[in-house]
């Protein structure tokens, strides 16, 4: 498909997600608690997109590979090693902002 308004339905029914390193895709998948393999595009080496994928991988939330190692990764993967992804906390931002503007 080209562009769907939301991948939420597809994500809900998936057992495994293989995605590019786009932040939206990664975060949406992790928040739904689905195991994620991030495929890094070697041709976009200096793309800042990689920063998040790298960090998520370092922290143990996702598996990473590139196009040529995808098959191998799928064959050897152990999804139980992936850690659950804790949600972000916008309430902390609200508290901070309240202090900044003087609503207490």
């Amino acid at each position: 498909f080209r562009f769907k308004d939301s991948l939420a339905e597809d994500l809900r029914s998936a057992d495994l997600v293989i995605s590019h390193a786009g932040a939206g895709s990664c975060l949406e998948t992790l928040e739904k608690g689905k195991p994620l393999i991030v495929v890094i595009n070697d041709k976009l080496m200096n793309n800042h997109q990689l920063e998040l994928a790298r960090q998520l991988h370092r922290d143990g939330y996702v598996l990473c590979c590139n196009c040529s190692t995808l098959v191998e990764t799928l064959q050897l993967m152990d999804l139980s090693t992936l850690k659950p992804f804790p949600p972000g906390q916008p309430e902390k931002f609200a508290l901070f902002l309240d202090k900044v503007v003087g609503f207490q």
Binding site: G24, H48, E51, Q55, G88, V100
Partner: protein, 169 residues
């Protein structure tokens, strides 16, 4: 645009109704943000029926990988365009999170502040995608914002004047 809009709406999700009216400013080339914003505000109106918001489109300051020289010209044009808008809205608080669109708005606000017309508090939240480096908007607004928030500890070390609250989206 896209990811930025999703992030900023998350940032807004826990704000009290004192943060009203909300004026959303985004690029004229952005086709998807309006729908996301309306959906967010519609949901919000279920809890806070008196919710008020407006939408404004401004010319996009810079395309991805646009050259430096032409970026300066298009950004100047965007600033000239946003100055009357910022002057009309006279926001108490400007919240932005990184698209090039926010730079002209913040610069307009800074100018209005310098001219003694309106002093807005500028709060910049760098995108969650930025773990090791700042975006171009971030690099500029690090010096011009009142509060600069980063979401990863590495950036807090690199940019000591920033605020680190952990992941907030």
């Amino acid at each position: 645009a896209g990811g930025h809009t999703t992030e900023i709406l998350r940032l807004l999700s826990c704000l009290s109704e004192s943060y009203s009216p909300r004026h959303y400013v985004f690029a004229d080339s952005d086709k998807m943000s309006e729908a996301k914003i309306r959906s967010f505000e519609q949901k919000r109106a279920e809890t806070f029926p008196k919710s008020q918001f407006t939408l404004h489109r401004i010319p996009r300051s810079r395309e991805v990988r646009q050259s430096w020289i032409s970026s300066v010209v298009t950004t100047l044009y965007s600033i000239l365009y946003s100055l009357p808008l910022t002057n009309k809205l006279k926001p108490d608080l400007i919240l932005c999170n990184g698209p090039g669109t926010c730079v002209p708005v913040c610069i307009s606000a800074l100018l209005l502040g310098l001219l003694g017309i309106k002093r807005s508090i500028i709060v910049y939240v760098e995108s969650i995608c930025r773990v090791e480096t700042l975006s171009l908007s971030g690099k500029i607004l690090y010096y011009f914002s009142d509060y600069f928030i980063v979401q990863w500890p590495h950036l807090k070390e690199k940019y000591p004047k920033s605020v680190y609250l952990g992941r907030i989206v």
